[in-house]
C-alpha cells in the first residue's frame, strides 16, 4: 500500500513528542532506511556507498532538503514520498544530532517542502481510502486505474487528467470515449489515443491491450480514422461494482488544478 500523507497531520504529529523522543525514533528510522551497508552505515559513519553524515557541519535546512527531495542524479532518493511526516521529522532530527545541531520542533516542515499530496487536506473516509488503495493496487498489475491515470504524483498520465467524475458506477461504465480513434497500419486495426499527427510522424498510444504502448510511426504508414470500438468499461473489468463505487468516492476527494 502506498501512503499519501496529508499535510494536515504533519505539525500535529511532529510536535507531539519531545526532542529526545524524536531523535530516538529518528535513529530507528535511520537504521531501517538509511543505515544499510550499501548506503550511510549505522550512525552515519560512512564506509558504505553513500557519504558519511556524522560531523559534517550540515545545518537543518540542508539536511531537511536532502532528506525530503533527494539529490538528483545520485543514489539519494527523495524520502518525502516514502516516509510518513513524523518519521521524516525524526530522521532529520537524528541527522541534526549527528552534526551537533539541536533539532527544531518540526524539522520536516522547515525544508519548505511537502510530501506529494494527491488528496484534499482532510482525512479520507474509509470508503475513499479503500478507493484510493484500489486505484493504485499493485496486485492488479496492468488492470489498475493508475496504468492509464495519474492522480497526484502517482500513476501514468496516458489519459488526460480526470476532470469530470461520473455520478455513479453505471455512468462510469457507460463512459464514452470519443477521443479514441482507430488506426490502421500494416493491415492491422487498433484503437489509439492520438498525441500528435503531422506530415512526417504520427504519435499515439496503442490501446489494444494493457499496458498501452506509446508508438511512433511514419505518417504514410498509418491511417487514422475517428471513432473506435474501444470502451472504458472493458479497461476496468478487474474491479467489482462495489470497488468502482469506492474509487469514485476517492476521486471525488481529489484536488484538481
Amino acid at each position: 500500500m502506498i501512503r499519501l500523507w496529508p499535510v494536515f497531520f504533519l505539525a500535529a504529529l511532529a510536535s507531539a513528542q519531545s526532542t529526545g523522543q524524536m531523535i530516538a525514533r529518528g535513529e530507528q528510522v535511520f537504521n531501517q532506511t538509511c543505515a544499510n551497508g550499501y548506503c550511510h552505515v549505522a550512525k552515519g559513519a560512512g564506509g558504505g556507498a553513500a557519504p558519511r553524515l556524522v560531523a559534517r557541519g550540515f545545518d537543518e535546512p540542508y539536511i531537511a532538503k536532502v532528506v525530503m527531495s533527494g539529490v538528483p542524479g545520485t543514489a539519494m532518493a527523495a524520502f518525502a514520498s516514502q516516509l510518513p511526516p513524523a518519521d521524516l521529522s525524526a530522521v532529520i532530527a537524528y541527522v541534526d544530532s549527528l552534526n551537533g545541531v539541536t533539532p527544531s520542533a518540526n524539522p520536516a516542515g522547515r525544508g519548505g517542502l511537502q510530501p506529494p499530496v494527491a488528496i484534499k487536506r482532510t482525512p479520507l473516509s474509509p470508503e475513499a481510502e479503500k478507493g484510493r488503495s484500489l486505484f493504485f493496487e499493485a496486485t492488479l498489475g496492468f488492470g489498475r486505474c493508475s496504468t492509464c491515470h495519474q492522480v497526484g504524483n502517482l500513476g501514468l498520465p496516458v489519459a488526460s487528467p480526470i476532470t469530470a467524475i461520473p455520478a455513479n458506477v453505471a455512468a462510469l461504465k457507460a463512459l464514452k470515449t470519443p477521443h479514441v480513434s482507430t488506426a490502421t497500419a500494416d493491415g492491422e486495426r487498433m484503437p489509439v489515443l492520438v498525441l500528435s499527427q503531422g506530415s512526417k510522424a504520427a504519435i499515439f498510444y496503442d490501446l489494444t491491450s494493457a499496458p498501452p504502448v506509446y508508438r511512433v510511426m511514419d505518417s504514410v504508414q498509418v491511417n487514422i480514422a475517428a471513432g473506435s470500438s474501444w470502451s472504458h468499461a472493458s479497461a476496468i473489468h478487474a474491479y467489482s461494482d462495489g470497488e468502482l463505487g469506492s474509487i469514485l468516492a476517492f476521486l471525488r476527494t481529489t484536488a484538481h488544478p
Partner: protein
C-alpha cells in the same frame, strides 16, 4: 582470421554453440551466456602486442559505465547509466547516432544501466523509470515504449539488458531490497504489446503462495534484476531471482512448519516457457533467505559430460559462495561446488542440495556472516570456455556483521529488515580479499587461482585465443592465460572497471572492448572499504584494443 569460426558453424547442427563470432550479438555473448568469443586472432602468443585502437567517452559518468556493448555487423550499441544509447562504428568509434532518454528529475537508487538488446532492426533498452523502449537500429529514432511499472509507486527500476527469445523481448525488474514484488515481462518485438508477465511471487490461489505468511507476498522481493538466458532448442528461458524482502528479517514472511521451500520463488533459479511465461521448473537455492543472498546472477547453459553422460547443464554462481550445477531440462540438482575460503552462513550443502546448519542473523544480536551481502561474487559475470571446460569466476572473500530488525513494509520504500556492516569484518579476510579462479565444470575442481589485491568487479571474457580478459578497480585491464592463470598482458586504462568486456571482428581485425569507470552502489562501497579505494576512479569511457596493423 583463422578457420575456427567456420568449423564451429559446421558442427553447430549437432552441438550446442554458445560462442560469439564476428558479432557480439547479445548481452551474454550468446543466449547461453558463455561470454566466450570464438575469435583467436589475438592469442597467448601475440597478446603482448595488444594496443588501444580507439577510445570513446560517453560523457555520462555519474554512475560509471557498467554496460556490455553489443556489436552487430560492424556497429556497436552502447548504453550508459542514464539510459542513453550510442550507435558507433565498431572499427573507429565514430558516432552514428545517439538516443537520449529524458532522464527523470528525481533519481533514486541504482541509476545504472547494464546494456541493450538488439533484434529485428530494433535496439531495446530498459530505463531507470521502468519503461522498455524500442529504438530504430538504423536511425536511433524511438519506435515504441511501454511502462512496465510506475517507478514512483514501486521504487523499482530496470537496470538489466533485455533478453530476446523468438519474437519477444523480455525484461526483469530491480528493486528487491524495497517493499516490492518481482516480475518478468515479455513484450512483442514489433508492437510493444505485453505477451506475458510472470510474478516471481505467486498470488492467492497459485502454487507456492502457501510459502508466504499473511500478506507478506505482496512486497516479498524476488526481483529478477539481471539478464536471463535462453535455450532455443528447449524453448526455455532461465532466470535467477533476488533475495526475499525484508532482506534480513524473515519473521513476517515465514509461514512456519518444515516445508523445504519458504518464500517461493525468491532466491531461486527459474525455467519458463519462452512463449507463454509458464513455469517449467524451479530450484530454490536459499529457502527463507535472511542474508540478502540473491540467486539472481547469470545462468550459464552448457551441454557437457557430467558423471559419465552428456547433460544439458545450467551453472549459476551464488552469492553464498557455491556454484550450483543443475540439469536445465528438469531442474534436477547435480552439484554445488564451493568457491570461497571463508564461509559461515551454512555448515554445508548436502549431496542433494539441502542447506545444513544455517547461521541466521537474529534481532538483538550482531552476527558475523561470511560471505557478506555483497556476495562471494557480484553481478559481474563469469565466462565459460569450451576449449578448457572451465568456468572463470571472480571471487570475493568478505564477511559482514549482520543485524536483524523487524520492519513493516511500505510499498516502494526501503525494506532491509536490518543491516550489514563491513568495517570490522573486513579484517577477517584482509590480505586475501579476492581471487580469479578457473573451475572445471564437470568436477567442480579449482584448476587455478590468481589472488587479487583488490576486489574484481568487472566481468570475465574468455576467447578461443585461450585468453581471459578482465579489469580491476585501479584501472588495469589485463589478460590471463585461460589454461593456467598466468598474466600475459596488462594496460592501465585510467579508470576502474565495473563493466563487461567483449570481443568482435570488423574487416578481418579482432577487437577487445572494455567499459571503464567505477560507479554504482557496490563500486562506491568497495572504494570506501579498501586502502586503494581513493584511486578507484570513476568515468564512463570505452577503451577498445586490437593488434597493431603489422602484427595480425
Amino acid at each position: 582470421m583463422r578457420i575456427l569460426l567456420l568449423l564451429t558453424a559446421f558442427v553447430a547442427a549437432q552441438a550446442q554453440d554458445g560462442a560469439s563470432g564476428s558479432n557480439w550479438p547479445s548481452y551474454g555473448g550468446s543466449s547461453y551466456f558463455w561470454r566466450y568469443s570464438a575469435l583467436d586472432q589475438i592469442n597467448t602468443a601475440n597478446v603482448k602486442k595488444l594496443a588501444p585502437a580507439w577510445i570513446f567517452s560517453t560523457g555520462d559518468y555519474v554512475q560509471g559505465l557498467q554496460s556490455t556493448p553489443v556489436v552487430v555487423d560492424g556497429r556497436m550499441y552502447l548504453s550508459t547509466s542514464r539510459s542513453q544509447v550510442f550507435a558507433l562504428d565498431a572499427a573507429t568509434g565514430r558516432t552514428i547516432w545517439q538516443y537520449k532518454y529524458p532522464f527523470p528529475k528525481s533519481a533514486g537508487v541504482n541509476t545504472q544501466n547494464r546494456g541493450v538488446a538488439v533484434a529485428q532492426g530494433k535496439v531495446f533498452i530498459g530505463t531507470y523509470d521502468d519503461f522498455l523502449v524500442a529504438i530504430d537500429q538504423k536511425t536511433g529514432r524511438e519506435l515504441w515504449k511501454v511502462a512496465t511499472d510506475d517507478a514512483a509507486q514501486c521504487g523499482c527500476t530496470i537496470t538489466a539488458a533485455p533478453l530476446i527469445a523468438n519474437d519477444k523481448v523480455i525484461v526483469g525488474s530491480s528493486g528487491g531490497d524495497r517493499a516490492f514484488r518481482g516480475y518478468l515481462s515479455a513484450f512483442n518485438i514489433k508492437t510493444g504489446r505485453l505477451v506475458w508477465r510472470f510474478y516471481t511471487i505467486p498470488g492467492p490461489g497459485e502454487k507456492g503462495h502457501e510459502t508466504w505468511k499473511g500478506d507478506s507476498w505482496k512486497f516479498g522481493g524476488g526481483a529478477p534484476w539481471t539478464t536471463g538466458s535462453y535455450d532455443p532448442a528447449l524453448n526455455m528461458i532461465y532466470w535467477g531471482t533476488g533475495n526475499a524482502a525484508a532482506d534480513m528479517y524473515a519473521g513476517n514472511r515465514d509461514p512456519g512448519g518444515d516445508a523445504p521451500n519458504v518464500n517461493l520463488y525468491t532466491g531461486s533459479i527459474l525455467s519458463l516457457d519462452a512463449d507463454t511465461g509458464k513455469l517449467k521448473w524451479f530450484y530454490q537455492v536459499v529457502p527463507k533467505d535472511v542474508w540478502d543472498y540473491d540467486a539472481a546472477f547469470e545462468c550459464v547453459l552448457v551441454d557437457h559430460e557430467f558423471k559419465g553422460r552428456m547433460r544439458k547443464l545450467l551453472l549459476q554462481v551464488h552469492k553464498g559462495g557455491y556454484t550450483f550445477v543443475l540439469d536445465r531440462e528438469t531442474g534436477e540438482f547435480l552439484n554445488a561446488f564451493r568457491i570461497v575460503d571463508e564461509e559461515t552462513w551454512v555448515k554445508g550443502i548436502t549431496e542433494d542440495g539441502k542447506l545444513v546448519g544455517r547461521n541466521e542473523p537474529v534481532p538483538g544480536k550482531v552476527v558475523r556472516v561470511c560471505p557478506s551481502a555483497m556476495g562471494a561474487k557480484q553481478w559481474n559475470h563469469t565466462s565459460y570456455s569450451p576449449r578448457t571446460s572451465m568456468l572463470y569466476i571472480p571471487v570475493i572473500e568478505l564477511c559482514a556483521d549482520y543485524t536483524s530488525v523487524e520492519q513493516e513494509a511500505i510499498e516502494g520504500a526501503s525494506f532491509g529488515g536490518g543491516n550489514f556492516d563491513f568495517t570490522q569484518a573486513i579484517q577477517q579476510t584482509a590480505g586475501k580479499l579476492a581471487h580469479i579462479d578457473g573451475y572445471d565444470i564437470a568436477t567442480g575442481k579449482r584448476m587455478w587461482s590468481v589472488p587479487q589485491r583488490n576486489i574484481i568487479l568487472a566481468s570475465m571474457l574468455a576467447t578461443a585465443g585461450d585468453l581471459l580478459f578482465t579489469g580491476d578497480p585501479l584501472g588495469n585491464f589485463f589478460a590471463l592465460n585461460a589454461r593456467t592463470g598466468e598474466k600475459l598482458w596488462s594496460f592501465q586504462t585510467g579508470a576502474g572497471h565495473r563493466g563487461s568486456s567483449i570481443s568482435y571482428m570488423v574487416n578481418g581485425r579482432q577487437y577487445i572492448a572494455t567499459p571503464t569507470g567505477m560507479g554504482g552502489a557496490v563500486g562506491t562501497q568497495i572504494s570506501g572499504l579498501l586502502e586503494d579505494g581513493p584511486m578507484f576512479r570513476g568515468g564512463s569511457t570505452l577503451v577498445v584494443f586490437a593488434l597493431p596493423g603489422d602484427s595480425k
